[in-house]
Amino acid sequence: MSHVVAFLQKLGPDVLARTHEHVFLTFFAMLVATSIAVPLGIFLARCRARAVVGTVMGLAAVVQTIPSLALIAFIVLLFALMHLQTIGVAPALTALVLYALLPILRNTYTGIRQVDPAVIEVATGLGMKPHQILFSVELPLSLPVIMAGIRIATVWTIGIATLCTLIGAGGLGDLIMRGLRSIQMDYLVAGTVPAAILALLFDWALGGLERWLTPEGIRAAGKTGGA
């Protein structure tokens, strides 16, 4: 027991600060990724040119296949070539955003595409304008799928953000790396446990948000079925 108290006394403030940095990185990366991927996904869903859809999706998928460590290194190199600051939050955020794009983009695209064309046609037939169809029919109906994409991306981002310590962006990775270098169990635990808890917490909170945002009519579909 006294061991735990000592542990918290020694590392408590540090854990809090690193967690704060970690949340900040994740949150902003997700904010930027979502505001790029959702509109892009909507655009792709409406795009008639198959080649464009294929290219953009392909690019996002390629980014996804690069190992996270390599991607971070690649971003640093890119920033150096452009004479930008290679250390700190900016390159870290860039890498995280690139990583988070694909799941959100893919789910937005699929979500919009799976809306029944008959429903869209009725909306058109009743005299809705394209933006009215998007906001009052397509988005509400594809929201559960889009939210699922955002959830997956968030959990990944929390994991990958632990690597951002390597380029001086802070976060819980700091504690983990210190533990690794000096073979100290305390630091390893202080870094990994909060990271795991964060991932679970975000997943749970986004799940709640998803349920709250899902229109009642679709929620009812799962439970009661036909009358």
């Binding site: 008959a118 037939g125 005299g127 029919v137 229109p215 009642e216 009519g217 009812a220």
Partner: protein, 327 residues
């Protein structure tokens, strides 16, 4: 009200979905577009509200070429109902019905009153159904909501694409009856698409029978059944023409001439009676139910004559004979 002038629709593959179609739908009339799948009936209907645009020819709605009208405004003036799939699953019954009034920016209380009125009109108690979602409704209830939504902004024209499809025969018959009743009160110009010849005969003031984009015959139901214009029509009706003949002939049409238009002052009273607009088949049912040999005939609650079972049976025999020996 709606006029097609030499309308052609060719899709990119070069197939003519609609070929040189000319017809007119009068105000207050129900025109049924009848045909098998691929006959061009749905394409024809969708050209009225510009969901599909004609390749050549003109479509006039209330005298104006639809291609000169703003499509959004045009569509909001035309009611539109399709099979139950057309309800928005994420919207409640009230929200579904209120779609067009909202697009037209009606004040909130006016929209609410209209929604309640419409739900009442299609036989769904507003208090019970207002807040339900499409998945919590039966097939028949969904179609009713679809009809209510099409009528929401009180459009002069209503387009219906198999609105009672995908229902069991009993519910379907019930909804057809209800819609006929409703239509007789609100007098809309209706374009009704179906592949079911019995539905066509029941719902239509006139029927346009289409095959591979070409109009085969445009006629009143009884005329279509009794005088098919060509071999295709004859084949399309097939064996069903016997039954159809009994459905298209009304009690009215077989009443002895001198009795038909005499509005006798007495009311029909409490007893059972035949309705003048009932079909011969419905009449026969009535005799069977009541066990009588003679029944009074009434129109709008007034007695207009009487008919004996014997005479009805004679007429039925005759109708069947005619339908059989035609040619």
């Amino acid at each position: 009200m709606i006029r097609f002038e030499h309308v052609v629709k060719r899709f990119s593959a070069g197939v003519e979905a609609v070929a040189d179609l000319s017809l007119e739908v009068a105000e207050g009339e129900t025109l049924v577009l009848l045909g098998t799948s691929g006959s061009g009936k749905t394409t024809t209907m969708k050209m009225v509200n510009r969901l599909i645009e004609p390749t050549s020819g003109r479509i006039l709605v209330e005298g104006t070429d639809v291609m000169r009208l703003e499509p959004i405004a045009l569509r909001r003036r035309i009611g539109y109902a399709i099979q139950h799939i057309g309800l928005f699953p994420h919207m409640s019954v009230a929200e579904n019905v209120a779609v067009v009034p909202r697009l037209l920016r009606w004040p909130k209380d006016k929209t609410e009153r209209r929604v309640d009125q419409l739900l009442e009109m299609v036989g769904l108690g507003p208090d019970e159904f207002r807040h339900r979602y499409p998945t919590q409704l039966s097939g028949g209830q969904r179609q009713r909501v679809g009809v209510a939504r099409a009528l929401a902004a009180d459009p002069p024209i209503v387009l219906m694409d198999e609105p009672f499809g995908a229902l069991d025969p009993i519910t379907r018959g019930q909804l057809q009856d209800e819609f006929l009743e409703l239509e007789s009160e609100i007098r809309k110009t209706v374009v009704f698409v179906t592949h079911d010849v019995f539905e066509a005969v029941k719902m239509g003031d006139r029927i346009a029978l289409l095959d591979r984009g070409r109009l085969q015959q445009l006629a009143r139901p009884s005329e279509l059944v009794e005088r098919p214009a060509n071999e295709f029509v004859d084949q399309f009706l097939g064996q069903q023409r016997f039954q159809l003949a009994l459905v298209t002939r009304t009690i009215q049409s077989i009443l002895p001439e001198h009795e038909t238009h005499e509005e006798q002052p007495e009311t029909a009273g409490e007893g059972p009676c035949l309705r003048a607009r009932d079909s011969l088949i419905a009449g026969l049912d009535r005799f069977k139910e009541t066990g009588r040999q003679t029944l009074p005939v009434c129109r709008r609650g007034r007695r207009v004559g009487a008919l004996s079972k014997r005479r009805l049976l004679d007429e039925i025999t005759e109708a069947l004979g005619e339908a059989g020996t035609e040619e």
